[in-house]
C-alpha cells in the first residue's frame, strides 16, 4: 500500500504545477482557470464526470494540444519551476521529460523490442548494447519482461490488450521521463489486466511522478495519493485522496463521490 502523504517526513516537492490554465477549442472554453500542484513521486488522480475536462487538462501538461488544430492553451504549466509554455520551451524536449500513456493501447505495428526502444532511438541513441539494456529495464519496470523476454522480435500487435498497454507504459518509461501522464489507461481493459496496471502504477512512483485520469472513483481511491475533482471544466476540489473520499469540503464533490451525479 502507498502510505498516506501526511506521514511522509520530508516536505513533498511540487513536480509539475498548473497555474491558471485555460484551454479553448475554437471559441469553446474546455478548462477554466485550473490551478493544480502535482507532487513529485506521487500519484495524482484527476476524476470527474464525462466531459468535465480532465483529459483536456492532462493533455495540456505536455503540450499535446499543440497537435490539435484550433486548440489553445493560456496560463502556465511549470515543470520544476520552468514554464513549458515559455517562449524557449521545446515540445520535443518537454515530451521527453513528460511521457504519456493513452486511453487505448497504441503500440506501433513493429516488434515488441522496436516499440520499447522507439523513444530512445528518435532521441539519438543508436548503441545496440545500450538500447538492449534500456529495453530490458523498461520492460521490467512495466512488469512485462517475464512475459515477453522470449519473443521480443514478435509483433507487438500479437500481445493481449493488457500486455499492449503495459508495453506502452514500458515505451514511455524507456525515455526515463520525470512525469508520466496516463489518460484512463485501464478503461479498455478487463479487470485482471486493470489490476496489473494499477499495481504497476504504485511501483512507478519509486521513480516517476504520475498523473492519471480515471473515470473510476474506486480506481482513484485505490491508486492515488492526491485527487483533483473536475466538473464543467473547473477544478472543484483538490486534496489527499482519503480526505477527498471521506471528508469532501465541497458539496459538488460529495454529490459526485456518493453517486448523486456522474
Amino acid at each position: 500500500m502507498i502510505e498516506s502523504p501526511a506521514q511522509t517526513a520530508a516536505p513533498i516537492q511540487d513536480k509539475i504545477v498548473a497555474d491558471d490554465v485555460d484551454v479553448f477549442y475554437g471559441s469553446f472554453q474546455a478548462i477554466k482557470s485550473a490551478t493544480l500542484a502535482m507532487k513529485a513521486q506521487h500519484v495524482t488522480a484527476l476524476i470527474g464526470p464525462s466531459g468535465c475536462g480532465k483529459s483536456t487538462f492532462l493533455r495540456a501538461l505536455n503540450r499535446m494540444h499543440d497537435l490539435t488544430p484550433g486548440a489553445r492553451v493560456t496560463g502556465e504549466v511549470l515543470l520544476d519551476g520552468e514554464n513549458i509554455y515559455g517562449a524557449d520551451a521545446d515540445p520535443v524536449v518537454i515530451r521527453h521529460r513528460i511521457g504519456m500513456v493513452f486511453q487505448r493501447p497504441n503500440p506501433f505495428p513493429k516488434t515488441i523490442y522496436e516499440n520499447v526502444v522507439y523513444g530512445p532511438r528518435i532521441h539519438g541513441e543508436n548503441n545496440k548494447r545500450k538500447l538492449e539494456e534500456i529495453a530490458e529495464r523498461a520492460l521490467r519496470q512495466a512488469a512485462l519482461w517475464d512475459e515477453v523476454k522470449d519473443r521480443l522480435s514478435r509483433s507487438a500487435l500479437d500481445l493481449s490488450g493488457g500486455q499492449q498497454q503495459r508495453l506502452c507504459i514500458a515505451r514511455a518509461v524507456a525515455l526515463d521521463p520525470e512525469v508520466i501522464l496516463m489518460d484512463e489507461p485501464a478503461s479498455a481493459l478487463d479487470p485482471i489486466a486493470t489490476s496489473k496496471i494499477e499495481d504497476l502504477i504504485g511501483q512507478l512512483t519509486e521513480k516517476f511522478t504520475v498523473v492519471i485520469v480515471t473515470h473510476s472513483m474506486q480506481q482513484a481511491a485505490r491508486i492515488s495519493d492526491y485527487t483533483a475533482f473536475f466538473h464543467l471544466g473547473e477544478i472543484v476540489e483538490v486534496g489527499p485522496t482519503n480526505q477527498i473520499f471521506t471528508h469532501p469540503k465541497e458539496k459538488r464533490t460529495e454529490d459526485y463521490i456518493t453517486g448523486r451525479f456522474g
Binding site: 499535446m64 504519456m100 532521441h123
Partner: protein, 305 residues
Amino acid sequence: MAVAAQQAPRSLIASGNVRTRKFADGLATLVLWAMAASIIVLLAAFIVYMIYLGGHALTWSFLTRPPAEHEAGGGIGPEIFNSFYILILTLCFTVPVAVAAGVFLQEYARPGTFRSVVQFSAESLATVPSVVMGLFGLLIFVYTFHWGYTALGGALTLTLLNLPALVRVTQEALGSVPDTLREASMGLGGTKWQTITRVVLPSAIGRLTTGIVLIAGRIYGETAALIFTAGVSVTGNHPYDLNPFHTAETLAVHVWYTHSESVVPDVDRIGNGSALVLLIMVLVFNVGARIVGRMLTKRFTGRAS
C-alpha cells in the same frame, strides 16, 4: 412488469411472414454470389480465349527477336524490353513526386485554399483522357523540345498521366494509419518528420506498394499516350537501346500497330501473341502487387496483414 396472462401461445416454427423473409434473404444471397462469380468467369474466359488465339505464337524466338518490317517471322523482344524500360523511367519520376505530394496533402496541409487547389488540380489531371495527354506530350516533348519520339518523352507523358492516381494511393495509404500511432510518436517527443518516416510510412508501406505495383500494371499497358510520344518503331540497328532519347515502341503500342498499320503477312500471329504476353505481364503485376505488399508489411511491422 408482469407479463399479460392471456398472451397467445407462441411456437418456434416459422410462419408465412418469416418464410417470405427467409426466401428473400436466400434469393439475395444467391444473386449477389452469382454476380460476383460472373467476374471470375469473365476473367477466366478472357484468358482462355487469349491463350487459344495467341498461345501457339509464344516461342523463344518470338519473345527475343526484333520485329520484321515486311516479311513473316518477326518477334517482339525489343518491345518487351522497351515496355520495362519506359515503366522504370516513369516510376522513377512518378513515385518520388507523388509520394511527396501525398505526404504533404495528408500529413502537413491544413484544410484551406492551398490544399483545395492542389487536390482539385490532381483530380482534374486524373480526368484527362490518355489520348489527350499523348497529344500534349507530342506538342511539348516531340515538337517544342525537338526531341522527336523518345522513351523519355513517353515516360514523362505517362508520369503526368499517372501522377494523380498515385497521389491518391499515397493519401489513402497514409489515411489508413490510425491517428493514435501519430499521437504515440509525438507523445514520445518525436518530431513530425520522425513520426512520418519511422511510424506512418512503415505502417502504410504495404498499401503503398500494392498501389504502386497496380499503377505499374497500368503504365505497362498504356497505349494511346505513347503512340504520340515514344513512337511506333524500335531503333533499327540497336534493338535493345538504353538511350532515353531514342524512339521506343512498347508492347502495348506494338499490339495496336500490328493490327492497324503493319504490312507483315503474319499480323494475326504477332498481334495475338503480343496481346497474350501483355496480358500475362499485367496479371503478373497484379499478383505481384499483393505478394510484395504483404511481404513489406510483414518486414516493417513484424506481422502479416
